[in-house]
Assembly symmetry: D2
Homo-oligomer: 339 residues x 4
């Protein structure tokens, strides 16, 4: 059933990501408005709500989801709070856009997956927003067209200018590499079967406790080999690249440029300094797609299965970091529900 008026959205979590989604829904996206904001920090959430006409502040997600003017939920709270919020949303049968990670580990993701199946229909879109990036989308379209034949290898680079201190090897897998895990699964339409993490001698700019950069190899159930450079203190900028090598050609994204400048012996352009700059449009498109689908009464985009599979691959990645060598990924059979 199609919704005619604007979609009333409850945004759970008003930290950096949540606040940005509030702004996006109210000022960028067509057909939605924020009617509820939720945060354990009562003061912060009140301040946010006060700035928006017709928006109520809550500290309890369940209360917000029970409100009459809430048609859908965007979860942007910390990962450990996701499972409870998702289960509550299921009780109200509300459509959800859940920021990644779906949940912090494979076991909890599996529980969410089972709960959604009990509900009998898909309700959750997981926030793997690279699937909405214009460059990735073009690459996906080209690969799916079959023009280049089967994809044999995928080379990826994931570079941040710098990373806040406190970021650990596990964060590198769970928060950074997780994007390439999803991109690999999505672009190839295959599951990752093993992960091998190699650690070069770290850069002298690597902070205490983080081996930076790392080089990761995935193998897939379709026989593809995928490599990922993750370099979180590369110094020069935020750079995400992917090259698919296929039977009849190769295709590369991540070198996009617009303005070329000649100055003082050098030609070239600038490099984006963070993911906000690089992926701003992808976030806008992701939320717009979710709003549009929800208003049409549909659920599209990355599913709970995708969130679960990413969690399982992450667990293998963290084990490869600590134990060394190649680690096989353990996945339950994919339910027909998610095919």
């Amino acid at each position: 059933m199609t919704q005619h008026g604007p979609l009333g959205v409850a945004v759970i979590g008003t930290g950096k990501m949540g606040a940005d989604h509030v702004r996006r829904i109210n000022e960028v996206v067509s057909g939605a408005r924020v009617t509820a904001v939720v945060d354990v920090d009562a003061e912060r959430v009140k301040a946010v709500a006060d700035g928006i006409e017709g928006c109520t502040a809550y500290t309890d997600p369940a209360a917000a989801m029970a409100a009459a003017d809430v048609d859908a939920v965007l979860i942007a709270s910390p990962g450990p709070a996701h499972e409870a919020a998702l289960l509550t949303a299921f009780e109200h049968d509300l459509p959800v856009l859940c920021e990644k990670p779906l949940t912090p580990d494979a076991a909890s993701a599996l529980r969410v997956m089972e709960a959604e199946q009990r509900l009998g229909h898909r309700r959750v879109q997981v926030g793997f927003m690279r699937r909405y990036d214009a460059e990735y989308t073009k690459l996906k379209t080209l690969l799916d067209s079959g023009e280049l034949g089967r994809t044999l290898m995928l080379h990826n680079r994931h570079r941040n200018a710098s990373i806040p201190s406190g970021f650990t090897n596990a964060n590198l897998v769970n928060d950074s590499l997780v994007h390439e895990m999803d991109v690999t699964r999505w672009l190839l339409g295959q599951e990752i079967t093993s992960v091998t993490v190699l650690r070069p001698r770290p850069s002298s700019h690597a902070p205490e406790g983080l081996d930076d950069p790392q080089f990761v190899v995935f193998e897939t159930d379709g026989g593809a080999v995928v490599d990922v450079e993750v370099f979180l203190n590369c110094g020069f900028g935020y750079q995400v690249q992917a090259e698919a090598v296929c039977e009849r050609g190769s295709a590369r994204i991540g070198d996009a440029h617009d303005l070329l400048v000649n100055t003082a012996g050098r030609w070239g352009g600038t490099i984006a300094q963070d993911f906000v700059e690089r992926f701003a449009d992808a976030y806008d498109r992701e939320v717009q797609a979710w709003v549009d689908a929800t208003r049409r009464g549909e659920v599209t985009g990355p599913s709970v299965w995708d969130g679960y599979a990413a969690a399982a691959v992450c667990e293998a990645g963290v084990r490869s970091q600590s134990e060394g060598g190649r680690v096989e990924v353990e996945l339950v059979d994919r339910p027909a529900f998610y095919r």
Copy 2:
């Protein structure tokens, strides 16, 4: 005064451009909805209105502008109808986004300019949408920063894959070259003082009645020399490029790419096939900017003066085509109102 609810927009003209703006306002832009559509074709306008909740069809622009749910007007009717629609909007003191050309000639543009001045405040944004293109915006920002020094020359290319038959030399100036006229004035912040149109021996693909390509030189009151290649049947795609050559460097846009493909002995990418593909985002941003400014009670973007100046330069261009050689541009003094 700030408007809280969505802006009610009357769209005048429901041809290709108008229909696209209707879709844009309802499905892409945040904070506005189409409450009225106007067209002399009663059947067509009714069909458009029927598909939109809360939208009324009109055949008379004045009736639409008098409606209570109309807060602003977007004029997308043919050029000769613009003057009357603008004057009516002024009577209702409504904010207007007027598609280019402002009016078909400098004399009528001058009348509109005078009417707006009598109103006492700016009401019109003219639809020179290249000012909202991400690449042009970056170029403008760089030039304005002063980093490269004064701009000495500007090289432009304006290429269409092909053009419908019936397009004349005058169309080439008034409908195609007009964009580079505005871009020149905007990027440099200078007025164009002369136009010289050169016509190479036409391509064998040029249709009857059109000398294609043409090569145009502008001189400005700041001493810059600007050249424009206009090639409307280039065959390979829609390509808009600009290079500013400055005292300490040069900067070029229009070679942007995202996906690089290797196939069968060739590397490279695709070329956009029309302006819709190339400038889709610019149109979205233009209308969003107009909606946002209007809701804040402001008028921004290209002014009636810009529409008038473009019309005056076009007249000189058409004269250079027919008489040959360099033709000086005649402009009235710029009113303080438009500084």
Copy 3:
């Protein structure tokens, strides 16, 4: 008749260019050696000869050309000395590679042309070395293939990082722009019929007495329109670009790069700082081609007609600079000898 041993070359003029050719012949090119060097500066020429086994120093070109071990002549002396050296070479019927300009003006070039015709066979290759540059050669090959159809326009950029003081507007035409004159004639296979020089308000880095940059338009007898930006103090490097716009496509050279570097927020590469760096290979190939052809008993490459035509176009260019506006080029009819 083919020459088996290495070609003995007399190099006339041992200034910067001459000395570089001496090095080139002895250390880079296959099949030739310098057997004579000539310069009015007796001390300098002796120093050069002393460093080379089997090489004699002369102050008189005629004496060098009469020597038994001299098979061919490379003229790299100042332009005003070229006519006499060429006529002497004709007396000895020696093959000549003559650095550009052939002679300083059209009248003297015409005299050389007549003298060579009296000789009855071509003896002179003029040093327009861009015809030997790999990029220009590829562009020429593509245009000649007919794949893109007839060439309609040619856009050129000729930028130097900076120019020594004392360089005049006439130098800009005779020493810089002359390359694009030859490139235009060679790429298109057409004669230039008019020259128009436009002078933007000069860069603040332009030295006293030089209007820098300048923007030049050529028209050709095949109906093509050619534009050239000449910017001799652009600050950022030596950059030579050309784009041919044809009926079925366009092709551009001069953006070649090899090493791409990411550093501190910027991606890109370096720009060559002078013509020696940019065109080193072209000079090597030019001289090797001359040596190879000479050893085979042939004369190839740019002819005296090309040298004459360049001189005539330069005269028109200088007149356009001083008088303003469009100046027609005056050429004698092309002798059958040079077809």
Copy 4:
């Protein structure tokens, strides 16, 4: 001691590679000529010698090396014949340019290394010609400058349009991958300590008996991680790329272009179709550098140690292919002689 006349070179082996070197020495390189050609095929070698003034045909390398007009030896015979030819050259104390591989395995390479050490001075330059490629040279210069800090990772692509049938997995390592082995050692100045070969599900264009493509990971004694895609039937062209990822930036080669063409909806350029086209200049520069050094009485370039190390890494690579997993490289200690 410096040699004044041209260097007399004996070329051993007149197959495709040898014949090309004969042409190069006689027609491209300055300061050398072929005075002897050697081949077991008496007819072929006589035909080659007959076309060159002052060149004698031999079927026995030792006889050629004993000739008075032979100053230096270029070995381009099949790999198994290299050891004997090298030892004979050592007997005559002749400088040698030996095409890769030095010898077919590490044991024989070790014997050559010991023989050269007994001779007491370096005599051999091994034909790893990528070290003479302009792009690799620039990359090496940049890395050695320290500007980007220590190199942490090196990503390589090695693609051939297609490969003759009969090429085996061992050939892929010994004839293709061997270049990246040398490039890795040379660019980083480190030894390779382990090799891991991964084999994606082969392309449907892979010939019987060859797993194509393969993905290889090297680890080095400096802690760098190096990956190489080897794809010998990629279909689109010959493409060699390398990206060094360093502590303060990254640098990439192998995307060089010169001519950019717009045609029919596509922009881009051509891809070289084989190594002859891609590396022609590198071969020229390699042989010129060898001739120049030899005439100065010096030995430069890749040494016998480099040939030995490549052989040892190749053996590990072939083992990883057949046994799977990571294989450690076994190297003798590097003799002081080769430091």
